[in-house]
């Protein structure tokens, strides 16, 4: 504790963490801290008055794997995630590799990345298309929420008061077609940009599953449009791709996000990904 500056609490267990949070409701969780100190070029940091340092919580740093799922603690660093190698789904690997620099990825955590609205265009779209689920915990309860419902709109995620993202559960499935594209400024948050994530599975020349999402100011995903193209023979006919693209065009016609050039880029990426399915 530092009477003049900040009060830092570094709990060893989640119980200790929630006890402290109860006493200091304004405390801010601090895992890698890269988002909190980002852009502070001056000599000392401007930190919150009460800090909940998460880096000593072993429970949040665990990585486990079952036959069907990969579970990652929210305080696992982005570099540790990349260290999982082939276990990590390709789309998530591509997304994480595009975040900041290797040195910052040694500090930044996946939980922080998902919880910061400014970083919504990093790994979030990949989590959504993979149908990942997030465990959110309070002192007395825990709940699981689908990635797509974690932060559906602009701004902060749907965390309740003194609720913490503790675990991320990612289904381990095989995807033959993976495409990830960042639109806008590379590697750093960009309020005008977005991230496009696309995965697809084919079986015996038939498109058996397709998922795509665009994450930026808002999250764009439509299961109904995705389902409309499932079951088609590959390679897709020009007309089938046009119909698929027109559905998206109609959906986004009056949307506030994406608009203008970003919308055109999104539609082009969908078209390109659909044509690449034959490769």
């Amino acid at each position: 504790m530092d009477g003049l500056h900040n009060q830092v609490f570094a709990p060893l267990t989640l119980q200790e963490l929630f006890d402290f949070w109860q006493r200091f409701p304004d405390a801010i969780p601090f895992a890698g801290g890269t988002e909190l100190v980002r852009g502070q070029g001056w000599r000392t940091f401007e930190l919150p008055g009460n800090i909940l340092a998460l880096f000593r919580l072993e429970e949040l740093r665990r990585i486990s794997r079952t036959e069907r799922y990969l579970e990652i603690g929210s305080a696992v660093t982005l570099d540790e995630m990349l260290g999982l190698g082939k276990i990590l789904p390709e789309i998530l690997k591509l997304a994480v590799m595009e975040i900041a620099t290797p040195q910052i990825r040694n500090l930044a955590t996946i939980g922080g990345n998902l919880c910061c609205p400014e970083r919504r265009m990093d790994s979030f779209a990949a989590m959504v298309v993979l149908d990942a689920r997030f465990e959110l915990r309070t002192a007395n309860a825990s709940r699981w929420i689908a990635a797509g419902r974690f932060a559906p709109g602009l701004g902060a995620p749907v965390l309740e008061k003194r609720e913490l993202l503790t675990r991320i559960r990612i289904p381990l499935e095989t995807w033959q077609h993976v495409s990830h594209c960042r639109i806008g400024q590379a590697r750093w948050p960009d309020s005008e940009g977005a991230v496009f994530s696309f995965i697809a599975r084919t079986e015996k020349g038939i498109l058996s599953e397709i998922r795509l999402a665009l994450a930026g100011k808002e999250l764009v995903r439509d299961r109904e449009i995705e389902n409309s193209i499932i079951g088609k023979n590959l390679p897709l006919h020009r007309r089938e791709v046009d119909v698929f693209n027109d559905r998206w065009r109609t959906k986004l016609q009056d949307a506030t996000f994406p608009e203008g050039l970003l919308r055109d880029r999104f539609l082009n990426l969908i078209e390109q990904a659909a044509f690449n399915l034959a490769d």
Partner: protein, 161 residues
């Protein structure tokens, strides 16, 4: 706040405020000026240090983050055989010496070679994304890292696999 950690192999304890950067603690308190105050935004890599075995920009690390951890600066790293491998490799390839970016270049090379003993050119360029260097052209830097990798392999195993 009291912060205790291992600095270049020695236990150290100091009184500081939690909003201080590791970079400033190293430079002002311990007079270890090998980590340079470049952009202070974590983008240039000139303040790189090894924290708990990982290369991080010390300007992005607050004082309380290092409590109980281990920090190796370029001064500490320069006492190791691994450092000699890298500077020999860099010298062989003609990598420029620079007061600012050398720290980042050397520690980024160390981080890469510990992870991938024989990196490809693409892996080398990816590892150097966080290092701003205007003194050495990327091709020569890649040759320097490859030479360092070869020297390290020879020192450790007596041959190049």
């Amino acid at each position: 706040m009291t912060v205790g950690f291992i600095l270049n192999g020695e236990d150290v304890v100091l009184q500081t405020s939690s909003d201080k950067r590791l970079l400033d603690i190293l430079r002002d308190h311990f007079k270890l000026i090998g980590a340079k105050a470049g952009c202070r935004l974590g983008r240039c890599g000139s303040c790189s240090v090894i924290l708990n075995g990982k290369v991080v920009p010390s300007c992005m690390v607050s004082a309380f983050r290092v409590r109980g951890g281990e920090v190796i600066t370029i001064e500490g790293f320069s006492q190791t055989d691994e450092y000699q491998d890298i500077v020999s490799g860099f010298a062989r390839a003609g990598v420029e010496n620079c007061g600012y970016c050398d720290t980042g270049k050397i520690l980024a090379c160390e981080a890469l070679l510990e992870k991938i003993p024989r990196p490809t050119k693409e892996e080398i360029f990816a590892a150097y994304e966080g290092i701003l260097c205007r003194c050495t052209i990327p091709r020569i830097l890649a040759e320097g890292v490859a030479a360092a990798a070869e020297i390290r392999q020879r020192r450790r195993y007596g041959r190049t696999p």
